[in-house]
Symmetry: C2
DNA sequence: AAGCCCATGTAACGGGTTACATGATTAC
DNA sequence: GTAATCATGTAACCCGTTACATGGGCTT
């Protein structure tokens, strides 16, 4: 149950319409919590009928007409409650690691190319994060808000750095692997 | 669609019953792909009716009777195909980062305790991984299988190390935060 | 008027989670 | 012989994903 709270956070930062939210979930917020527009509209409906947000009274809501939402006091309270409530970290769930484990059994044929591809993707993402850091978190501006947001961005940067290092290490190890154990055609 | 392939990998490593699989998904495989027994039974049924695995012919399958499965050639082929097929990395989805972003808006009240708790949890997980590394991957044994599995374990170790460092950094930053942005008492 | 993007949806499906059910085996 | 545990399932629900629908405004 995190999507509604992600939306509440986004709306508190800036009241928005569904499509504007979708755009923001493709950028900043989406860096650690992604969502499609279908999810967002479904959730906006629920949040509204639960009395946590309301549509800004601008024009009557016609289909195809922009409709902006803002957070109500009950919504802010719920977000504060959720934020401070303890939550266990989710166990890791990573397809690439699973594929490697499978490759240890059925052979590493073909997976190496994808490791290279992932390495490039993570390098690209890291560059994007570093660009944002340079732009948004220069030496000035030390409000609590900025420092916390910088902390979150730092997690992204360090995570990408971890993957780059690990993938580099993995590819090195692949290079001097004692030859494929392919001839395992026993069945 | 990763659970069936996780099960195929597990069954290739060692034919097992549903409950044995469940136990293994609580340990080694579960370190990067978790699954409950309900999921596993459901998926075993599908894999069998798809002709990728079969029940070992021991006793007739009575309810409450152990039933072991092994992988058929078609299953091994499907796993090899899946392993070498390119797959994009999933975008990060982390509740703690989302909560921090929310805390930047509604205040950091209460979240600090949970950061401490997470730090301890990650330290415990790291210790467990290091124990496994010492036990299973000593200086000897350099088969390709072992080296690949060690690589996967290394990812786990490095990920936990990342979280420990980041949480430590975050808690440090919290300590000299310019005080809550609600009513600042010190100035 | 045709085509394209903007904006808001609906519908169907599949995986993951939680709660519950039921038969067999073991412990006392 | 009864309680606990082992072992295999069923059922319901929610979230995330994919495909599709509808209407308005803009450009050509």
């Amino acid at each position: 149950m995190s999507l509604p709270h992600a939306i509440l956070t986004a709306l508190l930062e800036k009241p928005s319409s569904g499509l504007e939210l979708t755009r923001r979930f493709d950028r900043s917020i989406g860096y650690f919590w992604s969502a499609t527009h279908q999810q967002i509209y479904r959730e906006l409906g629920r949040l509204e009928s639960d009395g946590l947000i309301r549509a800004l009274p601008t024009a009557q809501p016609v289909r195809g007409q922009k409709k902006s939402y803002e957070v109500l006091p009950a919504g802010r309270a719920e977000l504060a409650r959720w934020t401070s409530a303890p939550q266990d970290p989710k166990p890791v769930r990573d397809v690439l690691l699973l594929r490697l484990r499978a490759a240890a059994v059925v052979g590493t044929e073909g997976i190496e190319a994808d490791l290279h591809r992932h390495l490039a993707l993570h390098q690209g993402q890291l560059a994007e994060y570093l660009e944002i850091e340079k732009r948004d978190f220069g030496p000035g501006s030390n409000s609590a808000q900025d420092r916390i947001r910088h902390l979150v961005l730092r997690a992204g940067i360090d995570l990408e750095t971890f993957w780059i290092q690990w993938l580099t290490h993995a590819l090195d190890a692949f290079d001097d692997l004692p030859a494929p154990e392919e001839p395992d055609v026993r069945r």
